[in-house]
Amino acid sequence: MSRIGVFVCHCGENISRTVDVEQVAKAAGEIPGVAYSCDYKYMCSDPGQNLLKKAVAEQKLDGVVVAACSPRMHEKTFRKAADAAGLNPYLCDMANIREHCSWVHEDRKLATAKASDIVKLMVERVKKGKSLAPIVVPVTKKALVIGGGIAGIQAALDIADAGHQVLLVERDPSIGGHMAQLSETFPTLDCSQCIMTPKMVDVANHPNITLYTYAEVEKVEGYIGNFSVTIRRKARSVDEEKCTGCGICMTKCPKKKIPNDFDQGHGMRSAIYVPFPQAVPNTPVIDRENCSMFQSGKCGVCAKVCGPGAVDFGQEDRLTVEAIGAIVVATGFKLYSIDRKPAGSPIQGYGEFGYGTIPDVIDGMTFERLASASGPTGGKILRPSDGKEPKQVVFIQCVGSRAREKGISYCSKVCCMYTAKHTMLYHHKVHDGQAYVFYMDARTPGKGYDEFWRRAVEEEEAVYIRGMVSRLYQKGDKIMVMGSDTLVGVQVEIEADLVVLATAVQARDGADLLAQKLGISYDKYNFYSEAHAKLKPVECATAGIYLAGACQGPKDIPDTVSQASAAAAKVMTLFSKDKLERDPVVAKVNEKYCVGCLACKKVCAYGAVEEKEIRDRQGNLVKVVAYVNPGVCGGCGTCQATCPSKSVELDGYTDEQIMAMIEAL
């Protein structure tokens, strides 16, 4: 016969207001196998826990049920107390009579009966429970950071500074990301490159950081502390060891008229190129689609002029496999483009703005490049169509953002601030120019942000018009902006020389595919999901993977850097121990009965199920069965529900326990 102890909590009045706790405790005492029962005002308090510990020792209890709140709240607390009293913590369970009962019912009599039933179920469950021990897994103390923008750079530097090895993987030929493209940054107007490039150099020089640029994550296997990551290092066609970064190849390359993505297509680059002069590493890459050598087999000028002989037309992609303990995902964002979207896309383009066919209608990032000293115009604000200085510039906020009918309902968070910044930069560079801003509201939550915006309006002469723009069209060399001023209640028509659209921040193309490789979840906009919106904002639901920056949602630089450092701190916590303890609630396969149908493998969300061969002593294959890797298993129980031969069970939630609970009802 079991000796179970039942402890019923009042939770102040939270439970006792609706449930007769004394009655519940009394009824529990009459369940066969219950050796002790009592009620107490606050079970989670110190005296409450001591009550539990004392009862375990004195009554020689072999199982405990605490009837109180949700196990999400205090399961750990009571299991710890049980452990301290010498009871296996997994023989301590909670009956949730608060969220599942007292909070949702009004009738005291019925609620009391229901609470008693819940306790009864849990008692039966604990009776059939087994002692379990935490799973211990080793930890490889090397972090992978995916993405070399400001988020990835910050996370990599923090982890590396703590003395751990970091592998930083960047898809583009250089690290730096979007921040390297910006001219000045709000709210202080300091030069983005001036604060960004030193950090890029720090990454390159850090003894603990291995940098793979022009590389992508190909495959991710394993689990927290023990990932095995395959990385594709794309062929640069330039030997990184030999190249000195002298740049003569770029000067001599005959193909120089290729639009440079770094300048949003408004500057030109050669076929062998570094994206921008401050690139890290300063090793060029050959853009094979535009290189004469690759397209027609003629040219090879770069190879001829290269002193160290670094140009290698025959270079191929290389795959490297790395053992990794933790992963920080920092893949960043892209900007919405207003052009016609493919049929079936939930995102609509902007037909009313001509689907992006008017050359002097540009996005915010293009304006950054125009305003940047390193940009295609050398920092002069000149419009793309005819290179003239625009005298009337219209900025339109919330283009694509907060527009459900266009497919996106969220706020992109950074546009109010960067548009205010743009009006200032414009005013500083074109003194006789006038900036107009169409806005819905000015959202400026952040230190010094509202002051910054007010400065744009009050000191820098930007005219803010509250309302949206219904149509843009070309009229001669002007762009007609048809909008409304909803504060005055009139229609507004402005002849603009340049229109700048604050287009929505979106997840990068392929963000969903990377998430599938990593086994992390993402929302309907392909932004990566954090484990808890408030309390676990940098962790993924998948253990050992952390998020930093705009890949999780639109974010400005200060927030991105904070999140990156937070993710780094989480990685350091993980790396602070040599072994990792995990909850033992994992699935186990009964190999005797498993027929190897592997239905469990198909439904496993964590990729924890593997095939295992059973061989006899002579080494002949007897059968193939499923095997659940305890390090990867998330303990969800889907396999248990799926298995047709009932040969996989979750420890702590066995079929026997569940059946006992049902029978008790």
């Binding site: 016609r340 037909g351 009313e352 006038q434 009229k475 005055v488 028509e493 402005i494 002849e495």
Partner: protein, 318 residues
């Protein structure tokens, strides 16, 4: 391409305008369908759809008018062909609305004392020409291509909006009229005011508004170097054609109020001042029928204000 042997047959809801101020639209629609060997049978005993006024005054009335017409249309075989943009919009809106709101449908059925069938597809003439008859076939049937005729295709506000109702083409940047025009051999011009409002039925109550809005449309078409404007709505036609004389008297040769600016920025006050050219306004069916070889005296050209014949003569299309 093998020609589709099956003859297309439609039921036809002309609407009040097509029996009165826009009767040339009706005449040319019938002539065009005949020339293309498509059947067109008028719904018996149809009445007003409520157009723009009814739904502003009484929602139930506007829905009931259309629901009753839709139930009358059930008596004639074939999808319901509609030429007027306002009738098209009202009939489609009614179907859309009542399909989603069972309670409202019941209310309407009580009002019209009978069932409100919503299953019959309502199709605009443009849709029938471009999609059902087909652009390629249309091109094959052209006997007299409209070579050299530069046309501003004017959609107005109702044909494609709101996006969830008409399902005719891209809501903000449609091309169906231009596509049809190209198959007829004419040249669609690029211009800005394809989708702006002409003022619609304010033509009676607030003519000043209509003069201003329609002037902007006409000026924009002139800037695009169009010879004429093509429409698919009798209200648009009325405002652009009938009011053109009044616009000329009010705005003369310049373009001062095309775009007013509340911030007083410098506006080019008619930089290229010139006498406003008359712009003939055609219905899509008039131009299409002309291209199919229907004689010009069968297309109602005599009942419009801005005489299109000089232009057609100049382009050797008469």
């Amino acid at each position: 391409m093998t020609p589709n042997k099956k003859r297309l047959n439609y039921s036809y809801y002309p609407g009040c305008s097509l029996h009165a101020s826009g009767k040339e639209y009706d005449i040319s629609t019938r002539a065009l369908f005949k020339a293309l060997n498509m059947g067109l049978k008028e719904v018996p005993d149809w009445f007003c759809c409520g157009a723009t006024p009814a739904h502003n005054v009484d929602e139930l009335l506007s829905l009931s008018l259309c629901a009753k017409n839709l139930s009358l249309a059930e008596e004639v075989e074939g999808d319901l062909a509609v030429a007027c943009a306002a009738c098209f919009s009202r009939l489609k809106t009614t179907q859309h609305h009542l399909k989603q709101d069972a309670a409202k449908r019941k209310q309407v059925e009580t009002a019209i004392d009978g069932p409100a069938p919503l299953g019959k597809p309502v199709k605009h003439i443009l849709e029938i020409l471009a999609r059902e008859f087909g652009l390629a076939k249309l091109e094959e049937h052209v006997k007299k291509p409209l070579l050299g005729l530069k046309v501003a295709c004017y959609y107005g506000c109702l044909l494609t909006r709101p996006p969830e109702v008409p399902d005719l083409d891209d809501c903000e940047d449609p091309s169906i009229m231009e596509d049809i025009l190209r198959s007829l051999g004419a040249v669609p011009v690029k211009w800005s005011h394809r989708m702006e409002c002409c003022g619609a039925n304010f033509t009676l109550s607030r003519p000043g508004v209509v003069l201003k809005l329609s002037n902007a449309i006409l000026e924009s078409a002139r800037l695009g170097e169009a010879d004429c404007i093509m429409v698919a709505c009798p209200l648009c036609h009325g405002n652009l054609d009938i009011r053109q004389q009044g616009i000329k008297e009010k705005y003369g040769s310049t373009d001062p109020t095309l775009f007013g600016n509340i911030f007083g920025s410098e506006l080019q006050q008619g930089g290229e001042a010139q006498q406003q050219r008359d712009l003939p306004i055609f219905y899509v069916t008039q131009l299409a029928a002309l291209a199919m070889g229907v004689p010009s005296d069968k297309l109602g050209f005599e009942s419009v204000i801005i005489d299109p014949k000089p232009l057609l003569r100049e382009k050797q299309l008469l």
